[in-house]
Amino acid sequence: MPVGYNRFTRRQFLVGAGGYSILIPFLPSLLSREAKAQAMTAPRRLFILNYAHNIMASENINPNVATNVLGTGIKNIPLSTYTGSMGNFMTNANMMSLKNAGLMTIVRGLDSLTTPDAHGSTWLTAGNVNVSNSGVALVPSIDSYMEASTTLYPASQTYFKKILRCNGSVSFKKVGTQVSDITDCYEEDDNNHWNGAQKLYNDMVGLLKGGSPPAPAAGIQGPILNKVMEAFTAVKNGRMISSEDKLRLDNHMQLLSELQSTFLGAAPPAQLNCSNPITDPNQPTNAELSYFDKMTVYFKLIAMALSCGLTKVAILNAESGGDWDIGVNRADFPTGGLDFHNDVVHNLHGFTLAQQQQQYSYWAKWHMDKLSDLVLAPLHATQDPLNSNGKSILENMLVAFMSEAGVNADPGAHVNLDYQPIMFGNMGGIIKSDQLVVYDRTNSFYRGVGIPANQLMITFLQAMGLSESEYVAGSTDAHGFGAYPKAGTPFDKYRNQFYSPIAEIWRG
């Protein structure tokens, strides 16, 4: 089997060439990168922790001013050089350590160009919403596209759980059949408060127990592909073709090798540190657990699943329908046992703005602390067993902590402007980390609407290796990742333009 290469480097180069330009000046550096990338293909991994309300208001994230001019209406600063306070919910020592190591990225000024809608403007869906909420037809969200991607999940890798997805029924629904959907993961189900965590546990630990390689497939497919690979090698090494074309053949061969593994009975990736992180997985079954307990289980299991190669994608959409949970351990909640969604987010309790901000910060701090301690730190402490580039698991993946954003003036509303994702890791260098990138939303090229949040989703999708054709299908007016934004809105002129990752954080 041929040696694989770092596909992203070549692909990004080739994209440049394919855009009707020749990037000859970059070729020498590219070739050197090719030469040193004698490693296995790094599996791309992504973890998104999202909250479908405006928790992380811009006022709560520091620094809020960037100074280095990147372009018209765009500034940045390297976060590792910033020594001030990151904000009252970002104080965790592990998180700060990652920031100082250049593994943190914040982007400010991302806007969804769809009409805000209760639970429908969540950006993971690029505007896709529940039918029952708004009557808009259900179309795929980001996880559905990743689930269906043959690039991300080639047929040979059946041992992966395609997506770990914890979500309720309101915000968005999967379109697909193979997502491991942890239904009711936050429901205060009268009968079983533990079912979501238990289901995730059984899925993950069950995979740990059954980690034997699949039997080689019978037939001549494997030998055929071996010889196809041989034919490609002969052309690459023996013909009068340009260096650029050799890179294209490399790319073709790498994909061939992935298909080849289907027929050669390739073993699942090595599983390291795959011990069961939960001490008592089957208990309790009917006792009411706090949100705190369940989230702890989720974080631990997801960290294990990502580090062991049991899945490549995990999404926790930290809220669901039904009886709303308090959102934090009630006993720890400063204002007492309230319904976080109704009483705090939508302020049915009549909090002052300052009280709301305090509670938002409490919610965000709890999640940031747990995310840092239970996911980020363990993943960064372990060298990636699936990639020989010597980097940690976290460096070879991306973790995004996001919520609807909003501003203090209207903290209870569903606000689809000025999203601010906080990200960790850099996908092995694909993402330009160690930055606070600020898009000027008041005087920008996009005239007061920052840049489309959809571009961050496309950044994720392309970083995970998906091609444009794998995620534009099924998009409809203003929804999904294709026809966008909505016709007839002031943003109509930007329709069909947002197929690009965010340039300022995309190294590719």
């Binding site: 330009s21 073709h252 329709r495």
Partner: protein, 648 residues
């Protein structure tokens, strides 16, 4: 409006406007007088264009025509002295440095080409092999369509085969494996494999039979004879221990062939070495390249025979072969791709987005398809049926009207295919597809002008400045202005005559071109008035039908300050414009090479000059009406030694 006109003069005042442009011969004869006339107009409002560098005319990439040359002196990599009208000595030329070449790119078969090739290849054995299974396999391939952008604006799609994705690899494998399996499982198919003389159906397959199989089938797959090393290589595949039966050997070798780089990519490096970095294509490679250029598929039997006899070596023979290929049905959709990628009419807006005030009774069902078919068939009529020129495209009244909805837009009662449109709709850009594409949903002179400026004239234009509104603001109560006037006030000068300094640099370039099309509503219906609805000062909703004004003056053509009464005048100027012809040459280069031309001054400029000169035709030597046809352009492309050269 009146205040505006009083302060700065009405740019469309007929007292200073040119009369309708002359016929072409008159145009050629009256150039000097025309200069004097239009200088007068230049003193009116369009002088605001001066001094705003934010969007000043700049020459587009790759040595394309400089706007400065329109004033009579070539620059931006071009030579020539311009003039009005262009004289033979001053026709625009790209800067050319012979021998300064860019390495040739191998080109992967696009899904369209792959599908055509598979169909033609298996039909050499039996046409029924191209069945639903194989078609379904091919349908899994990514479509290779990529968004084309100009200044970050998505303007259409083009076929891009630079990257390959897992979907390609999986689809190639499944198609190859299934074709091999179907052939191997059917004795009739096995006996029909090219070059084998049925020997593979014998009880014992001899070594000579295998050699014939490799050579015969390989010739069709690689579109050239295999080298000795390749024959040895593929015979070794036949003898693989993993292939335990003849059927498996046939299936396996065919599957390898159909996934090989020499099948999936077009690599023309087998020819005679002419320099350290160049090779002349073999006769087979030339035949293959010509076939894909015109038919989008592998060579047919005639081309293979001509390659075998090496008979395509003279310009006359090549031209004759191009003529034959252009007559094949497969040539039409292949050449149509060029026009789609150049003029971007294959990505039209969703017609259901238009409000009823715009559709005005037109059924939008299949309207986009009808519009695109109209342009496709119109272009085919000009290019294929009438051996037409760029001038013909700009003046044609032929249209393909297949649906009642399009007929309604055109005011035609008999929508049954090719028709001749009324005199008020001449030239390709008067077709509904182009007019509706630029609507938003009302007419947009800006978008219509931008399309012409960037796509047809290949001129660069900058991005909107910070804070520029996306759309014209609503009219205040009591104000009734046409779309044209609203854009004029917003982007060039307001109603008080104050210059829109951040906007006018670009808009004074785009708007005048777009104004000439204001005689068409958003769907492309002819109109003489524009209904404008607003509240009057009493708060009542009132609709006023305001007269349409299509007169305009532009600096964007080959000479400055060209006055136009309507788009018909614009089309006439475009039809003989060096800028348009050089733009088309540049787009043609990009289309056939699958890349942009290299920087100015390279050998690419020489190649584009060949296209440009073919388009100039005899008009280059001062003979009016002698413009070369589109077919001439294709023939000259094939005859060029550059077409026959592989560089590295």
């Amino acid at each position: 409006m009146q205040k505006f006109r009083k302060l700065f003069g009405d740019p469309t005042d007929k007292s200073v406007m040119q009369k309708k442009p002359d016929t072409k011969s008159q145009w050629m004869a009256k150039s000097s007088q025309r200069v004097l006339h239009i200088v007068v107009i230049a003193t009116s409002f369009l002088c605001i264009n001066f001094g705003f560098v934010n969007c000043s005319p700049v020459h587009d990439m790759n040595g394309a025509l400089s706007a400065a040359s329109s004033a009579g002196s070539g620059s931006g990599g071009g030579t020539g002295t311009g003039g009005n009208p262009p004289t033979p000595a001053s026709r625009y030329q790209f800067t050319c440095t012979p021998g300064q070449t860019t390495p040739s790119q191998m080109q992967r078969l696009s899904r369209r080409e792959y599908q055509n090739t598979i169909k033609d290849l298996v039909s050499l054995i039996n046409a029924s092999l191209y069945d639903a299974t194989i078609q379904a396999d091919i349908a899994t391939l990514p479509d290779d369509q990529t968004s084309a952008t100009i200044n970050n604006n998505a303007v259409g799609e083009y076929e891009s085969t630079v990257l390959v994705y897992a979907g390609h690899i999986n689809g190639y494998f499944q198609t190859a494996f299934d074709i091999g399996g179907k052939i191997a499982a059917n004795a009739t198919y096995v006996k029909a494999i090219p070059g084998t003389n049925s020997c593979l159906g014998a009880a014992t397959v001899t070594d000579a039979c295998v050699t014939n199989f490799i050579n015969g089938f390989g010739l069709k797959v690689f579109r050239r004879p295999l080298t000795t090393a390749e024959v040895t290589q593929y015979k070794a595949y036949w003898n693989l221990a993993d292939f335990s039966s003849t059927a498996q050997k046939i299936q396996g070798v065919i599957a390898i062939f159909l996934q090989s780089p020499d099948f999936l990519y077009r690599i023309y490096d087998q020819g005679t070495v002419t320099s350290a970095t160049a090779r002349t294509l073999t006769s087979y490679e030339f035949a293959s390249k010509l076939s894909y250029l015109i038919t989008g598929s592998m060579p047919d039997a005639t081309l293979f025979a001509e390659a075998a006899s090496n008979s395509l070596t003279t310009p006359a023979a090549i031209s004759a072969e191009v003529t034959r290929l252009l007559a094949l049905p497969s040539a039409r959709p292949t050449i149509a791709r060029f026009f789609k990628e150049w003029l971007q009419y294959d990505t039209l807006p969703d017609m259901t987005r238009f409000p009823s005030s715009v559709t005005n009774g037109v059924d939008v069902t299949n309207l986009s398809t009808n519009m695109m078919n109209d342009v496709d068939n119109t272009i085919q009529s000009v290019v294929f049926d009438n051996n037409g020129t760029l001038q013909d495209l700009m003046s044609t009244k032929v249209s393909y009207v297949a649906g009642n909805n399009l007929a309604q837009i055109y005011g035609i009662t008999n929508p049954n295919g090719l028709v001749t449109l009324p005199d008020n709709r001449a030239g390709i850009f008067s077709r509904a597809a182009f007019l509706a594409k630029q609507a938003q949903p009302g007419t947009s002179p800006v978008k219509r002008g931008r399309f012409l400026l960037t796509s047809v004239l290949c001129q660069s234009i900058g991005n909107p400045p910070p804070g520029a509104p996306a759309q014209a603001p609503a009219l205040p109560p009591g104000e009734f202005l046409t779309t044209r006037d609203r854009y004029q006030f917003l982007t060039v000068r307001d109603q008080n005559g104050i210059a829109a300094v951040n906007c006018m640099g670009c808009h004074s370039r785009m708007n005048p071109l777009g104004y000439t099309y204001e005689a068409f509503d958003p769907f492309g219906r002819v109109r003489s008035t524009e209904p404008v609805t607003n509240t009057n000062l009493n708060g009542q909703s009132v609709t006023e039908n305001l007269p349409i004004n299509t007169q305009s003056v532009t600096n964007e053509l080959d000479v400055p300050n060209v006055a136009m009464n309507s788009y018909l005048d614009l089309h006439q100027y475009l039809s003989t414009s060096d800028k348009v012809m050089s733009c088309m040459s540049q787009k043609w280069f990009t289309f056939i090479q699958k890349r942009s031309p290299a920087m100015a001054g390279s050998d690419d400029g020489c190649y584009m000059n060949e296209f440009l000169n073919a388009t100039y035709g005899t008009s280059q030597s001062g003979q009016p009406g002698g413009q070369g046809s589109i077919q001439d352009l294709i023939k000259n492309t094939a005859v060029s030694t550059r077409f026959r050269t592989w560089n590295n």
